[in-house]
Symmetry: C2
DNA sequence: CCTAATCAGACTGATTCGTTCCGATTAGGA
DNA sequence: TCCTAATCGGAACGAATCAGTCTGATTAGG
């Protein structure tokens, strides 16, 4: 139930990239300096995020990277899935995976789908634009998500 | 962003324990047979869940385990935190942890608190009683959680 | 044509997780 | 009262995943 460090770094890096006024071209080196993330790691993340279609990269001298979409159209779900793969709390919610011995007789398995979707939607409602806003000191505003698994 | 296998197993085991009419005494061996979880692993989980106050264990011959609280008063958050520790998507949301070099200057750090609480509340709204219900074939009913991190 | 700067993929070391085994504790029966 | 049996509790081993680093391929500019 913890985000991997790479996913955490990816969110920070995308936030820094979004602060470059969206379409302005930047580079992995520049983002590394701004965020404090080690350069090799930043390069690896740029590679992953580009392959996922969140960044547009231009190679060669004078090249760089920029957001592939407006910051308001990029969510935490997009970033996390770009680094960690599909969001799946358990193995049985991944489509095409049927390696659980209790498949069919497990009584909680049908519930995981709804729970997983709720998690995914919650992360999907947080856009990169909202993260790029300067921080305001109002730490507590967690939304009450009235979810009851009935599936 | 994936639940550990132990946490997954713990949910299955608690669901099986709840199906024993709440207060009826059962054992790790019995739960292992019912769920298919290997016996040593089931024993380890019983130990963790007991220490967390979710199960009441009685040692000796004729002993066993039973739910410490009604199934309706046990949530997914309780079970997951009993096995994995406090739910913390990132290192910076854990109270007392300040080992991030970007502490203070990171612009996304203030947002994680609200996001983390939303996750925690969503899992906390799923009770063991709802999981113990026999599965119904209605796979899609994910709640729309209108959360926008404004912290 | 050459140089320089960038992204992209492959490799190594370390940490964590999952599993298994063995010992401590306790109630029941002789 | 002692012994036996069944249980929980903690410790050690092996495997898998992950974070981080390095080197190579590609491309624009001089």
């Amino acid at each position: 139930m913890r985000l991997s460090s790479l996913a955490d770094y990816a969110v920070v890096m995308m936030g820094a990239a979004a602060r470059h006024c969206g379409g302005t071209r930047t580079s992995a080196h520049e983002l590394s300096d701004e965020t404090g993330i080690p350069l090799p790691t930043a390069q690896k993340l740029v590679s992953l995020l580009t392959r996922a279609g969140l960044l547009k990269s231009t190679r060669g001298a004078g090249g760089g990277i920029k957001l592939a979409r407006p910051a308001a159209a990029i969510t935490l779900t997009d970033i996390i899935e770009a680094v960690e793969g599909p969001i799946a709390l358990t193995a049985c919610v991944e489509s095409g995976r049927h390696d659980c011995a209790m498949e069919g007789s497990c009584s909680v398995q049908p519930h995981w789908g709804a729970i997983n979707d709720a998690m995914r939607d919650a992360l999907g409602s947080v856009t990169l634009a909202s993260l790029a806003r300067p921080p305001i000191a109002v730490p507590h505003l967690a939304a009450k998500a009235p979810m009851e698994a009935q599936a």
